[in-house]
Amino acid sequence: MSSPTRNFDPEPGSVRSGSAALGKNVTVKGQIFAREDLTIDGEVEGTVECHEHRLTIGPNARVQAGLKAREIIIQGSIQGNVDATDKIDIKKEAKLVGDIKTSRIVIEDGAYFKGSIDISKPNAAKPAPQPAPSVSSSQPLSQPPLSTPTPVTAGSVK
């Protein structure tokens, strides 16, 4: 008699929330890698990488880590370098000691920050190459395509 198989796949139709959270009573020591938005409100020691997503450091958070994300919102305490490809938003209750690297920064009055700021603008988007006009290989390029009608005026045809 075979044992029943157990299916651990998500039920059809279920939807992932798209964000993760570490509560204020959670402590993590080590490396965190996230492939979705992440909110940290506890204690973290190590590194946090959240490429292409938003990382929020909540008001109760105490982080001693290097942070990398697309966008970083800071409300708590951080000791470590912060690297955001798009934007860093430092709220007035935040405390940040470390170096910042980003394209844009917003800092509210009252926020405590000690460190350096490097603003690196993203490379300007190169214009998309224009598609070459379609021309039949049997026609010389200097002549108009045969599909273009040539206007004929009265009396011009003999």
């Binding site: 009055d109 350096s116 700021i117």
Partner: protein, 212 residues
């Protein structure tokens, strides 16, 4: 040469006693901006704490900015009375350990604003030594000092850049006793610097540029 404290009782700031916000034209900052515009990629230290205005202004010119709130450190280490409480060796040591904690020759420019007027010997000389240490040769330092020798209390301000010639002084934490310096005292304080330049002003603030 020892710099002594001015007399006068320390005051506890109250809402009614809050100094006003001021907008002022600054010839010293105008000259500092000439230095900023002369090249890109400079490393600038702003000792008035992090602010959107200053960060945007400096980084828009293509420079790197570092922030350090020296007056905030004074408040942490010296409490309500800067001049009295920095006489305690433990407070002074704690202040020096937390201020200008950067490697040697880290900066091309520094905006010290008026912070040094709230320091007395020996903390003042120790801080100036650290300031010159973190500056690169040829680096430029902008400083302000209260020029009113009759003033017993000086408002404590944040300095926010409005444009190349204009600063916004926003009050923080009421008043503190401060030293009064004349030009000769300041020249001796920065005698290790390459050059010192003073700017005439119409108000009670003496502006100076020091070249490391």
């Amino acid at each position: 040469m020892r710099f002594g404290a001015t007399t006068g009782a320390p005051t506890k700031p109250s809402p009614k006693d809050a100094p006003p916000a001021l907008t002022r034209h600054s010839s010293g900052f105008d000259q500092f901006c000439g230095f900023l515009r002369s090249t890109e990629g400079l490393s600038i230290l702003d000792m008035s704490g992090a602010s959107q205005a200053n960060i945007t202004f400096i980084t828009s010119l293509g420079h790197r900015i570092s922030s350090d709130d020296i007056v905030g450190t004074m408040q942490q280490c010296f409490g309500a009375d800067f001049l009295d409480n920095q006489q305690a060796a433990s407070n002074a040591q704690r202040f020096i350990e937390q201020t200008l904690t950067f490697p040697d020759e880290s900066f091309d420019g520094a905006l010290v604003w008026d912070a040094l007027q709230f320091l007395v010997s020996p903390v003042l000389e120790d801080t100036v030594e650290q300031l010159l240490r973190v500056m690169r040769p040829g680096g430029m330092i902008l400083l302000f000092f209260n020029a009113d020798e009759k003033a017993t209390r000086t408002p404590v301000y944040n300095y926010r850049i409005q444009d190349q010639k204009t600063l916004l002084q926003t009050p923080r934490g009421g008043y503190q006793r401060s030293q009064h310096f004349n030009n000769r005292m300041l020249e001796r304080l920065f005698e290790r610097a390459a050059s010192v330049k003073f700017f005439l002003t119409r108000d009670h603030l003496r502006e100076m540029i020091v070249r490391r």
